[in-house]
């Protein structure tokens, strides 16, 4: 027997056998289901974190200090994490930039969240979240990072909560602030500048040059003004994060002067989910896209299009037809209630009582 199969290290196979044995002890559940009850942050568990503190930054933003589970693999300055929080009992996932340095002494990480009007998750995190709460995490991700060692001359252009990934970078660069760093940050007023105190202190110590643009009184930053306040921007590596309008303007300008490769941008795009009557339904796994008029069930529509649809009672009681809505909006045909999913959410919906309320993507 052993001649045909590659030999595994004894430790690994012993560990495998122990695992197999404990699985037999806990069937139909997994050992993890019981261990989660005891220690949800242990190594080997699905990645979670515990909120340690929620510190206000401005009147509508706060920094959440999170102790990540032992499976946390660390991050690069400028990266973001997806967090899953239960708001009114419903698990919702959002992405936020990490604002802590990569080597924080206590091993915690921080994200800084600005409460946006009607933003269920951001409002919950800023206003209602309590220390001690367990939240779901993903490993850090994102390409908006600063090279190490950082290039000589740096320009950061940020607006609103766009300062958050940049703050993460600044906190990491700080110990060896040999770089020449300019930060141009836009916010409605001086009081709305997230990390205002820390940025101004860095500037006072001469570690960065800070240009604050208070848009309530000075208007939105344009490229003329930018050229005036940063006269050497063509010599700088620039990282920009903020609303789509600002980034579009910057990209056009950098392209016009032929230095596109010196500009790195991060788009904080709020997921705009179009809702209406009906829409194009894409059954992604079957590669079928069909129109649904908003009055027929997705189940009927899918079946007519030849998609292999799981189904059951066809009246909304048995949950035999549940499928993940990857993206888009559906309306409950019985109540008119809307369910929306952002990219990657995978909200399970009952196809037999749901109709399209805009374009949507069903994983079937």
């Amino acid at each position: 027997m052993t001649t045909t199969s590659p030999r595994t290290a004894p430790a690994a196979s012993l560990r495998g056998r122990v695992l197999k044995f404990t699985e037999r002890l806990t069937t139909p559940l997994l050992p993890a289901d019981y261990l989660d009850v005891i220690d949800p942050l242990r190594s080997g568990a699905a990645l979670r974190g515990r909120l340690v503190a929620i510190n206000p930054e401005t009147r509508d933003s706060a920094t959440l200090v999170i102790r990540p589970g032992r499976g946390w693999r660390g991050h690069l300055p400028g990266q973001y994490i997806r967090v899953g929080v239960d708001v009114d009992g419903i698990r919702q996932w959002r992405a936020y930039s990490l604002t802590s340095p990569t080597d924080r002494a206590d091993g915690c990480i921080t994200i800084t969240v600005k409460a946006i009007p009607d933003g269920a998750v951001s409002t919950y995190l800023v206003r209602r979240a309590r220390a001690g709460t367990i939240i779901q995490l993903d490993q850090a991700a994102g390409e908006f990072t600063v090279d190490n060692p950082s290039p000589g001359k740096v320009l950061f252009i940020t607006a609103g909560s766009g300062i958050t990934p940049v703050m993460g970078m600044l906190r990491d660069m700080r110990p060896d602030l040999t770089s020449d760093i300019v930060v141009v940050h836009s916010a409605p007023t001086a009081a709305d500048v997230i990390f205002g105190g820390e940025l101004r202190m860095l500037a006072a110590k001469g570690l960065i040059r800070l240009v604050e643009v208070h848009t309530d009184t000075e208007g939105v930053l344009d490229t003329d003004r930018l050229e005036r306040v940063v006269d050497d921007l063509a010599e700088r590596h620039t990282w920009a994060c903020g609303p789509v309008g600002l980034l579009d303007t910057l990209e056009r300008h950098w392209a016009a002067i032929g230095i596109t490769d010196q500009l790195h941008t991060e788009r904080f795009r709020p997921t705009v989910i179009a809702t209406g009557e009906g829409g194009a339904v894409s059954f992604s796994a079957s590669a079928v896209t069909v129109e649904n008029d908003g009055n027929r069930s997705l189940l009927d529509t899918g079946e007519d299009a030849g998609v292999l649809m799981p189904s059951g009672c066809r009246m909304g009681i048995c949950f035999g037809c549940v499928a993940p809505l990857r993206r888009g909006a559906v309306r409950d045909l019985r109540t008119g209630e809307l369910t929306t999913a952002a990219e990657g959410d995978g909200v399970a919906i009952q196809t037999c009582i749901s109709a399209a309320a805009g374009p949507c993507d069903i994983e079937l």
Binding site: L25, T27, Y34, G89, I90, C318, F319, D345, Q350
Partner: protein
């Protein structure tokens, strides 16, 4: 026209078609109220129940490692029995109904849940959620009516095999989890040639493999782990499974078999409206009255009427809407069948014994 006109003493003849639709609209309103207020409190409830049940199971199994010591046997067996009952009823049954799907937590979701019962989740969901809850008490369509082996209503034609149904019901009660598994396999349908052979064998393998895993856990591995206490742990696990079987069987029997519960002819549900469907659920189910602890230990299936009206509402809410539902019964002149557990169990057994002989 209505769902129930075929039944002998139809208790709803006084209701017009418009009455029935109004009744449906009022029930929809009750449902809406619960859905609109579903939230953190409910999520915390089910998480606490799951957390507590898992700790209770771990603790009980740990105590049973020393089951040679009689107090340990007793405490461990009681704990494990209670834990298995909660796991099957308040957690498993209700999660697999999709009652908690709205939380969007993949760990507590009807599509991912597997339970400590011989019947695999997907097969149980088909026969229970899809057939039983859709065709509740429709003779010839809802196999839960006597599980295909018993006669539980005067309208079901008598056959000689029903003579032994008091005995078969007692046996079924003791081995209830296997009864459910074989029932979910739809052996009867297969024998009549209405199920593809390959399909049937595939599902049979799945059931057997799950039974093997469950039995290995309870009757081999945990006893072996107990060392000198092996034999007493084995008897403890056997007892816990028996207690769970007897309890769940009794509760479930009370849901649809007691006196006063209606059954319906197959053709009576053609073109059934939402209001008529609701009415059928109201007439086809019976509650159990009792303390909060009793309701919890039945997985709130003691609110069988409310559960059948709204199978996907969180179970912790049934007690809250029960007075409103009961008030509707009174206003529409219908009988809300309910009674204490011993009375309902006796009533269901009386029916089974009475119906074992021809009318």
């Amino acid at each position: 026209m209505t769902a129930v006109q075929e039944t002998v003493a139809d208790p709803s003849t006084h209701l017009s078609a418009a009455d029935i639709e109004n009744l449906g609209a009022e029930l929809d309103a009750i449902r809406e109220q619960v859905i609109a207020s579903r939230g953190e409190r409910d999520a915390a409830y089910i998480r606490t129940v799951i957390d507590t049940q898992r700790k209770l199971e771990l603790g009980s199994r740990a105590i049973l490692l020393f089951s040679l010591f009689p107090p340990a046997w007793l405490a461990g067996t009681v704990g494990l029995s209670v834990s298995k009952i909660i796991e099957n009823m308040e957690i498993g049954h209700n999660v697999m109904h999709g009652q908690w799907d709205w939380m969007r937590d993949p760990a507590i979701h009807s599509t991912t849940w597997e339970w400590d019962n011989a019947s695999p989740a997907d097969m149980w969901k088909h026969s229970h959620n899809e057939l039983h809850h859709t065709y509740t008490n429709v003779r010839g369509k809802d196999n839960d009516l006597g599980y295909g082996i018993m006669r539980v209503d005067d309208e079901q034609p008598w056959k000689p095999m029903y003579l032994i149904q008091p005995l078969s019901n007692a046996v079924n009660a003791c081995f209830f989890q296997y009864g459910i598994a074989f029932y979910d396999l739809e052996i009867g349908k297969y024998l009549k040639g209405r199920v593809d052979k390959k399909d049937f064998i595939g599902r049979g393998r799945k059931v057997l493999s799950k039974i093997r895993r469950q039995a290995t856990r309870d009757y081999v591995l945990h006893p072996l782990l107990s060392g000198p206490s092996a034999l007493s742990t084995l008897t403890a696990n056997l007892t816990a499974n028996l207690v769970r079987n007897l309890w769940t069987h009794s509760v479930i029997m009370c849901g649809h078999f007691p006196e006063g519960v209606q059954t319906f002819a197959r053709d009576s549900i053609e073109g059934e409206t939402r209001g008529q469907w609701y009415l059928r659920q109201m007439l086809g189910s019976a509650n159990i009255s009792g303390s909060p602890a009793l309701h919890f230990m039945t997985g709130n299936l003691s609110y069988q009427i409310e559960h059948h009206l709204f199978p996907d509402l969180p179970s912790n809410r049934y007690q809250e809407i029960a007075p409103k539902v009961r008030e509707l019964f009174e206003r529409y002149g219908l009988t809300y069948t309910t009674g204490p557990l011993p009375k309902q169990v006796v009533s269901a057994w009386t029916q089974i014994i009475r119906l074992s002989v021809p009318n």
